[in-house]
């Protein structure tokens, strides 16, 4: 079994003269909850969009489950993702949205829709139209849909945006149980550092498109007991100074 889920080498995305992501080389290993941290506009979503195949890199390479190039399509079938806003059909019910995804993934019939909805904390909403869902409920439904395919790797871009405090706690507990119980590797991007500090096992700090620091939660602890927020502020200030 691959130890390395994701490897990028010199990954860059340029728009005109401006680099949205510049020379990012990183590795996410199996079993990690990798927190990708950065301010708004730092390049987190652009990086994730390259990873999920929505935009093509200007330079560099991606290896997913040991596959690259033409094999990335095959590898992405093992990935579940929520990129920015949940991808849902608003005029269909939750059950129909799940069924659509099941068919898209080519899975056999017999998905326990109610169990998926229960797992994500929206039990009893199978026959409710998505347009009547709150943002938090849509996030949860999107997570249920991304779990339908039994992914080994989950990519979540700002998943707690729009969630109430209870929802944030429930989301954190759910992701932890997915990682520990199902062995799912998770990449989660956020600018809410306090939440990532309680969830992630590894961190990558992205600033002005560059990955300026990578460290584990243990290494952060060893950094003189700094919390994630202080470490982040220090790292980005040093980056400004070097620039």
């Amino acid at each position: 079994m691959d130890k390395s889920i994701v490897k990028t080498a010199g990954l860059s995305k340029r728009y005109g003269e401006r680099y949205a992501v510049e020379n990012v080389s990183m590795e996410i290993r199996r079993g990690q909850i990798y927190g990708l941290i950065g301010q708004n506009g730092a390049g987190k979503t652009t990086f994730i969009r390259m990873l999920t195949g929505l935009i093509s890199p200007t330079a560099g390479g991606i290896e997913l489950f040991g596959e690259s190039g033409a094999g990335l399509g095959r590898a992405r079938a093992r990935v579940g993702s929520i990129v920015e806003t949940p991808s849902l059909f608003p005029n269909m019910t939750a059950a129909c949205n799940i069924e659509t995804q099941r068919r898209l993934a080519g899975l056999p019939a017999g998905t326990d829709t109610d169990a998926m909805l229960r797992l994500c904390g929206i039990a009893g909403t199978a026959n409710k139209k998505v347009r009547d869902f709150s943002l938090g409920m849509r996030q949860r439904l999107a997570l249920a849909i991304s779990l339908i395919t039994g992914p080994e790797f989950l990519v979540l871009d700002e998943p707690i945006n729009g969630l109430d405090p209870k929802g944030i706690v429930e989301n954190r507990e759910m992701l932890k149980s997915l990682a520990q119980g199902r062995g799912i590797t998770i990449l989660i991007s956020s600018h809410i550092l306090s939440e990532l500090a309680q969830l992630a096992t590894n961190y990558g700090i992205i600033h002005n498109g560059r990955l300026i620091k990578q460290l584990s939660a243990e290494e952060l602890q060893a950094e003189g007991g700094q919390d994630l927020e202080s470490y982040f502020m220090k790292a980005t200030s040093e980056s400004y100074a070097r620039a």
Binding site: R49, L54, I55, R76, S87, R103, L104, G106
Partner: protein
């Protein structure tokens, strides 16, 4: 590919357009048939007092057996329907992020593109079939069935060629929707393309030496088809021109979509 098509057909079954569009075309054909009968009944004589036959008014014998001919009177309406449905179907999926969702689980862009084109084609097949049957039914009720000796051959030809014509615009709308990714803009450009291609055909055929360029446009054939229905060479050219048009728009659209960043 099968899984994407399976998913798209499931979505289509849940989409109100599956019922709305054929219902609208049914109403449009019945209303058109009744209007044509109204025009016919009011055109009993022309200036000079000579009686005008229904054949002169319609250009065909308005019996049920020839009802499919009436499709030519509202051909561009269906082209616009093809553009609107295909444009809305695809643009809505862009807006809801579901096209992005399919790409994220490793579906290829070409497969996603072709599946949407197939879904649009299925809708247009249904709409064309409903319209042809509705015209045959309406004219049978209004004028009787008439001489059915040429009914199967002519009806099949008209159905097939009309469907191909609608498919041309469904393919064009797919290309525009995938390139433009904006509901209002892509549908507007598509409708404009339907109108302008008709005008362009007329302009090109009006000038010596330019008519050959008009042969590349589906409108050239559909507007002349009723006079050339029994001309195998003309029908063959029409099929080839439509097939080439669909192939070109599909290749351009899928290639452009393959290279496009989904933001």
């Amino acid at each position: 590919m099968a899984s994407i098509i399976n998913s798209d057909y499931f979505k289509l079954r849940k989409n109100i357009a599956l019922w709305l569009l054929p219902a609208a075309s049914l109403v449009a054909t019945v209303v058109t048939a009744c209007f044509m009968m109204f025009v016919d009944s009011g055109a009993a004589t022309v200036e000079g007092g000579e009686a005008v036959s229904s054949m002169d008014v319609f250009g065909f014998d308005p019996a049920g057996a020839f009802g499919a001919h009436a499709m030519f009177s509202i051909t561009n309406l269906y082209a616009i329907l093809a553009v609107v449905f295909s444009g809305l179907f695809i643009s809505n999926e862009y807006a809801s992020g579901t096209i992005a969702g399919a790409l994220c689980i490793g579906k290829s862009r070409v497969q996603v593109y072709l599946s949407k084109l197939l879904t649009s084609s299925t809708m247009m097949l249904l709409v064309t079939l409903v319209s042809v049957l509705a015209f045959i039914g309406s004219f049978t009720v209004l004028y009787g069935f008439g001489d059915g000796s040429h009914f199967p051959g002519e009806t099949l030809k008209i159905f097939g060629l009309q469907f191909l014509y609608h498919l041309c615009y469904a393919a064009l709308a797919c290309m525009l929707a995938f390139l433009i990714q904006n509901i209002v803009f892509s549908v507007s450009v598509g409708i404009f393309a339907v109108i302008i291609s008709g005008v362009l055909t007329d302009i090109l055929t009006a000038f010596d030496g330019f008519e050959v360029f008009a042969h590349a446009l589906p409108n050239y054939y559909i507007t002349r088809l009723s006079e050339h229905l029994n001309d195998p060479a003309f029908i063959t050219q029409s099929v080839i021109a439509s097939a080439v048009f669909i192939a070109v728009t599909t290749v351009i659209g899928s290639l452009a979509f393959s290279r496009k960043d989904i933001k």
